[in-house]
């Protein structure tokens, strides 16, 4: 990352790290990536032709290359450093995964090709379904959802179909804990359901009494993250699931934290009816600056008839096929085009096959050990939200620091100056001034030590000179940004001055 400008001589409207494409461009410039087809214009009736200007920037390839080279260098990334965002599992993204996804046999096949021409891709999809069933302890798997939230939506819609198929139309409520990720209630709402929130107890578990009180015959189901967003294993998970089941509801497993459970315990063995997997967390696929991910949904048998189509199956002769509504009349239908974020799934498959059973076991345990170790190092400087051994991540509260006049955001920004990406802050909502830290299993011990030192140094600074962290970051490409101004008068695109 850099504050050093590579000078291009471009005038910018405001002082800037890097000009905009629109500032770099000049009419008349262009490369020659594609040319020809001039005869086409006459083939398009005048009434349809574009009359609006097409003010795309006109640039040469050298300019474009420099622009994105400069922009890239302004980013923090896993490839460059520790990225301990809680709930995000920013582990290392192996390069072999990317190479596998770019093999022509995977990257250059069209989803409309007939099954007989894509047997390799279908085989990979099918094998991955089986691997994920084994890892999650579930019976059947769809790889369609594009992300965790998409899987939540898919599952809750399947819950709806499941109840409907039983002739049970009165269920309109989905219950979520107060520590739940925002996607959980949002997904429930997208399925047309009301959301009831139940609080956590003093140990960071779901408050079983509150849950029991909330349950009833209008409940579709309960969405539970385990380990939850506090990094804590739900101590009475079976009782929780049983309670929901007794009320006729289904239990959704939010698998965002599956990294902690690899080889440790399977959601399918704990009482969940289904669980999603964020392969962009647990299975090392790159987050892509926000996406894509993939959110395979693993379900128990009773839910299987409702899985979305197309479903990839292997027939008796060993041939792979995509089956549609015709073969699966109870399916909720398609939740997107095609079989899933295939390029991401290839990466996840590659990772799972590389690690193998024992590697996955080691992963879960190392992730847990790293979090507990880091917590042991930093607890002398910070208050811990819940006094329990965490799984793969833990949540500190900067309540103590707040009293000195520095909050979680200040600590985050001060970490930037120490050479680290900050952890997740202000989530989960149940913890005031939350700092949610997930080191993952791929950070070396000395890096964990250095991160802890940095956090402790910051805690010390706050005790003696709380103001100093308000100025942070000073070593990043930019100082703190004015988010209020951005939202008050949104500038959401370039418009020529």
């Amino acid at each position: 990352m850099s504050r050093i400008r590579f000078e291009t001589g471009t005038k910018t409207e405001l002082p800037a790290l890097e000009p905009l494409l629109f500032e770099l461009q000049q009419p008349g410039r262009s490369g020659r990536h594609v040319r020809g087809g001039d005869e086409a214009d006459a083939l398009i009736p005048a009434a349809f032709r574009r009359t609006a200007p097409l003010p795309l920037p006109e640039l040469t390839e050298p300019q474009v290359v420099r622009h994105y080279t400069h922009l890239a260098q302004l980013n923090y990334s896993v490839d460059a450093g520790m990225y301990p965002l809680g709930s995000c599992t920013m582990k290392y993204n192996p390069k072999i995964n990317d190479r596998a996804a770019s093999l022509p046999g995977f990257a250059d096949i069209h989803p409309h090709q007939p099954d007989e021409t894509v047997q390799g891709a279908l085989r990979l999809v099918h094998e991955l379904q089986e691997l994920l069933a084994g890892i999650s302890g579930m019976d059947e798997v769809t790889l369609q959802p594009a992300a965790g939230a998409h899987a939540e939506f898919t599952a809750i819609l399947m819950f709806k179909a499941y109840h409907a198929a039983r002739g049970d139309a009165k269920r309109r409520r989905v219950i979520v804990p107060d520590s739940a990720h925002g996607t959980n209630p949002a997904s429930a709402a997208m399925c047309g359901f009301d959301v009831t929130t139940v609080k956590s107890d003093a140990r960071g578990n779901v408050d079983l009494d509150a849950l029991t009180a909330a349950l009833g015959d209008d409940v579709v189901g309960f969405m539970l993250t385990n380990p939850n967003t506090l990094g804590l294993f739900e101590e009475r998970v079976r009782e929780v699931c049983d309670a929901v089941h007794r009320a006729g509801g289904l239990v959704y497993g939010d698998g965002a934290n599956l990294n902690a459970l690899l080889g440790v315990a399977r959601p399918g063995d704990l009482g969940f009816d289904c669980v999603h997997i964020n392969v962009h967390k647990t299975f090392s696929t790159p987050h892509g600056a926000g996406g894509p991910g993939a959110g395979p949904l693993c379900v128990k048998k009773p839910l299987a008839p409702f899985l979305p189509v197309p479903r990839v199956i292997r027939d008796g002769s060993g041939t792979y096929r995509r089956e549609t509504m015709a073969e699966h009349p109870n399916s909720i239908g398609r939740v997107r085009s095609y079989v899933g974020n295939f390029g991401v799934l290839v990466r996840a498959y590659t990772y799972i096959r590389t690690l193998g059973e024992e590697g996955l076991v080691e992963t879960g345990r190392d992730a847990i050990l790293a979090a507990n170790y880091l917590l042991a190092l930093v607890r002398e400087g910070y208050d811990v939200a819940y006094e329990r051994s965490p799984m793969h991540e833990f949540v500190l509260t900067a309540a103590k620091q707040k009293r000195h006049g520095a909050n979680a955001l200040d600590i985050a920004k001060a970490l930037i100056d120490e050479g680290f990406h900050p952890p997740t802050v202000y989530f989960p909502l149940v913890v005031p001034e939350a700092l949610m830290i997930e080191p993952t299993e791929t950070e070396p011990k000395e890096t964990l030590d250095a991160f802890a030192d940095a956090l402790l140094r910051i805690a010390k600074r706050i005790e003696t000179d709380p103001q100093s962290v308000h100025d942070a970051p000073v070593k990043a490409p930019l100082r703190r940004l004015d988010e209020v101004a951005a939202a008050r008068k949104p500038v959401l695109r370039y418009r020529p001055a």
């Binding site: 087809g37 990334s77 460059a80 926000g290 239908g333 085009s337 299993e441 695109r493």
Partner: protein, 447 residues
């Protein structure tokens, strides 16, 4: 242990860490886990070396017939197009690819500026006020557009054209099950007549069969009845055709894959979604906005986040969190490299090839092309073999689009033929010859 090749921990490291935690085994941390659930067998085969896994995957990949391996006329929402060499080199740099959602803008300006530029580029291309930073794919963008229109109008009836890509319509139908919307499917030409009481009319132009559609009339009908016009578009068409913003569309959606993103068997791709300024607070998805830092230097941040799930939870405009950011960055790199010139050329070549091909095919006995209406770079090819023509051509190593009868109501049968700038003269010759042979063999055709 040493089973996870990406783990840095030696046994000595682990011992030191355990000691610091004050335990002797990770098992000591797992007391909360029910006994009978501990240490499950997962049934995953033993791990491999990288060299072994590479060979394994090469073998699986070799079972697929690649698009580039022979004449290829499949298209629709996902198109085989030329990807400039610089696109992956830049867009897939580790600093972009391995970053998270830009929650810390001071160290994420690369991502944020690139996505803001994506929003800007797409806004220009579509002549729309604002474009968000991506949806999962074209199909979910269509579905979310319908939900947005429902929120904006308070109506629960959505009218969609039959000629919208089947995957998009089917996804819409699934999403409609949540809020229990009424989805009415009619031919494009009947959309306007069905505007009454509709939250939106959803029209695709060019449609699934490449046909050009009079969006203006449909938008007017929607507006007259207090509804919105949602236009499904595809990127390259906008280089030559009047863009959605100029046609009266209120919301524009589409599949962005043709903008430099590999086919990849259907994903990850790029859901494009844009709207008029006035509607932006009901738009789903992340949006990047411009601001300044405390030194007055220009910078970018995620903005209008009160629409989003992490702030608004069940009241959010959508549940979307992880999106397709790297695809949006890829599309930006693609568009900045192509510029208006190469983008137009790519679109034009597809149009020119499609028309040249269609006129050759039209000369064959018992072959019908399209509907007679003007079309863009793909068309419906109808023969007495119907959708079965696909199988016949596959035997000749030629891949053509999906059977129409299977996927589209009231559109007859046949196959869709897509041309792009990668369609060659030899491909055209091959297809014309093969269609001639296939129809000649067919009893109905011969009679």
């Amino acid at each position: 242990m040493g089973q996870n090749p990406y783990s840095p921990h030696t046994d000595a490291d682990r011992a030191a860490m355990l000691a610091r935690v004050g335990i002797t085994s990770v098992d000591d941390l797992l007391a909360a886990i029910p006994h009978d659930a501990r240490r499950p067998a997962m049934g995953v085969p033993a791990g491999m070396s990288e060299a072994e896994v590479q060979v394994h995957l090469e073998r699986i990949a070799a079972l697929d017939r690649t698009a580039g391996a022979g004449p290829f006329f499949i298209g629709g929402p996902v198109q085989r197009r030329y990807i400039p060499a610089a696109v992956p080199v830049l867009a897939l740099r580790g600093e972009f690819l391995t970053a998270y959602t830009p929650y810390q803008p001071e160290v994420s300006q690369g991502t944020l500026q690139a996505i803001w530029e994506y929003q800007s580029l797409l806004s220009e291309l579509l002549a729309m006020d604002v474009v968000n930073s991506s949806m999962y794919d074209g199909s979910t963008a269509v579905a979310e557009a319908a939900l947005m229109a429902v929120r904006l109008t308070g109506r629960k009836r959505v009218v969609v054209a039959n000629e919208v890509f089947s995957q998009f319509r089917q996804t819409l139908a699934t999403y409609a099950k949540g809020p229990e919307l009424e989805i009415v499917a009619v031919p494009s030409r009947e959309l306007a007549a069905n505007a009454a009481g509709a939250a939106c009319l959803i029209v695709q132009h060019p449609d699934a069969f490449g046909t050009l559609v009079d969006v203006r009339a449909i938008a007017e009908a929607a507006h007259l009845s207090g509804g919105l016009c949602v236009q499904v578009t595809e990127p390259h068409a906008n280089a030559l055709l009047e863009p959605p913003g100029a046609l009266g569309a209120d919301i524009v959606v589409g599949e962005g894959q043709p903008l430099g993103i590999p086919l990849s068997f259907g994903g990850p791709h790029l859901g494009i979604m844009g709207c008029r300024d006035a509607l932006v607070r009901q738009m789903p998805g992340r949006i990047v906005g411009q601001t300044v830092d405390s030194d007055g230097t220009r910078g970018f941040v995620n903005t209008l986040q009160t629409r989003e799930q992490h702030i608004r939870r069940e009241k959010a405009t959508s549940n979307i969190c992880t999106n397709e950011a790297i695809a949006a960055i890829t599309a930006s790199v693609y568009l900045s490299l192509m510029g208006p010139r190469s983008l137009r050329a790519a679109a034009r070549i597809g149009v020119a090839r499609a028309h040249a091909l269609a006129s050759r095919l039209a000369k064959l006995p018992s072959v019908t092309i399209g509907t007679g209406a003007p079309y863009f770079d793909r068309f419906a090819l109808r023969t007495p073999l119907g959708g079965e023509l696909r199988t016949a051509l596959l035997a000749d190593g030629i891949l053509v689009g999906e059977g129409i009868g299977r996927h589209y109501a009231d559109c007859g049968d046949g196959v869709t033929i897509q041309c792009t700038e990668l369609t060659t003269d030899a491909d055209l010759d091959a297809l014309v010859g093969a269609v001639e042979r296939a129809t000649a063999r067919h009893p109905v055709a011969r009679s």
